[in-house]
Amino acid sequence: MITIQVFDPAMCCSTGVCGPSVDPALPRFAADLEWLKSKNVKVERFNLAQEVGAFTSNPIVKVTLNAQGTKCLPLILAEGMIVSQGTYPTREVLAAAAAVSYEPGPTIKRVKEQSPELVSISGPTKVNL
């Protein structure tokens, strides 16, 4: 079984609902991790504000964090190797890192009809309508 480890910046919770507004990338990523678990991938998630020890006891995380500061977070490891840093990777990247076959899930896209700045989430386009 492959292990994916996620080292989050200090935050209140994994979907970010406790912030002044929700960053749509967070619930999407949380859902992607759930999907990985359903594919028999072992997922571990650590929040800097809550499990500081996990950051200092992992040599790769400790070195990266000390070299780059918090801008390297979120830091995602697969089998102890860095998969991505500073951003929440897509489901496709996660699937490749965990060696499971990719199934399209919710993706982030720009929603034009709302505010030009507003980032929202949209599922895959349904073709069989």
Binding site: C13, S14, V17, V22, R45, A49, F55, N66, G69, E117
Partner: protein, 577 residues
Amino acid sequence: MYTGKGGVGKTSIACATAVFLAENGKRVLLVSTDPASNLDEVLQTRLGMRPTLVEKVKGLYAMNVDPEEAARQYRERVVGPYRDLLPESAVKNIEEQLSGACTLEIAAFDEFAKLLGDAHATSDFDHVIFDTAPTGHTLRLLQLPAAWSGFIDSNVGGTSCLGPLAGLQAQRELYEKTMASLSDATTTTIFLVSRPEHSALAEAERTRNELDAIGLKNQKLILNGIFQACATNDSIAIALERRGCEALADMPNGLEGLPRIEVPLVAQSLIGVGALRRLGEGRLDEAKAALQTQAEMNLPPSLAALIPDLIARGKGVIMTMGKGGVGKTTVAAALAMELARSGHRVHLTTTDPAAHVHLALREDIPGLRVSRIDPIAETRAYTAEVMSESGRDLDAKGRALLEEDLRSPCTEEIAVFRAFARCVDEGNQGFVVIDTAPTGHTLLLLDAAEAYHRDVARNLSYIPDSVRRLLPQLRDPNFTRIIIVTLPEATPVHEAARLQDDLNRAAITPYAWVINQSFYATGTRDPLLAKRGALELRYIAEVRDKLARRLALVPWQAESPVGAEGLQQLLEETVTK
């Protein structure tokens, strides 16, 4: 455990009880969980977060559970061991995340649970007396164990949001014991403290219901400030006695059924062990005290004097702040009514969970809209908004995860905060008069503003404009006028001074002070009331000379100040003596 609307005398009665028990050979621990605790002042002993022996009383220990300090200690427990192992930015990141309103609330509750849920913590004492915070805040504190036990039960994932208290699962047993000892009638007695006044009794009844619903059924009622007029020729004294009788005659049925203790109105401030001892022993013999002759004093102007300058800008936010029970709602309603009558569009609203704005303003006044920020409704609306925006295209699992996180205790804080920001922002279009929550909760709100302000700077694209503008608007003296409301007594004035200090630290400068319910300004000749009035003078002078940039004095009202007519009375010129 004492609870009741702010200003009803919880601290005095809790302290008098503690002194009485200790002097009868019991070992007593007195605890305040009020963020604006004044136990130190009342007991004239410097207290901290550990039990401290009270001077002059054998066997009496007291302590303050200060949420700020509890949160700081909590932060240090999390960060301390890693300070040398992590870069500066990571340490900062953690500290910021752990400095919000939820951390304060949770850290304070944690201290509370340690005393209530852990038998060892209090095994040295025969009695532990909690002088709890004002009602709205108390309820939140007391409801947490039930809400959180339920929250942990239904939290299937086990990894999602438990707020900043990461070790909550480990605390579960402690919290369950806390809840059990609260609902055990042989262990815990709840004293509902009230004045013989309609609004205080209504508040006590609400509290009775809510505590009853979470299983705290061993309740008793304390009626503080029972007054009988000495002479029959003083209209103020007769009105005070009549209003007390009327309020008691209308007492809600639920309260009627409780065992009752009555405490008479006294004409001296209950500061220091001597006064507390006499109150406990029923030896305060005030009514016969000689009427003191006082130097004449030029009284500050009435509330009406504030109006012209407030009107001049045509829009903006007016916020009444102060401890619960000092009349913030009434002052806010009177100002809102007067602004509306002068032809402006006015929105009167409150963030106080225990508000009665609607009771203060019984009828419609053209141009005046009245509303309330209801935490439950706001939370529901915010949850729905997040689910529809961020949860719209998540799969079932993702939605379940998001929904689970939204059940966290932080969600309400955020929802209420956003609603508050929206109200403040309305000050760009017209007048918004906000009757804010009691001091402790207000401070949490403003502290949240500061934490959000930092978050906003980091994460600009997702923030509603109203939230982004909030703190700058609160700090702009031309946009927001903060009116501190207090009573002409030692404790309320000193608490209000602390509030002003806190605001100043947040770079917010109060616009004016209002001293409410002055017996001196009524000109009463009743011996007890006149003595109370004379005692007011030094506090009125203290506010005028040391604290307020502008000051208005409102006399105690013979008629209950509700409805347009009642509120109008508040604006009338003060009787000159």
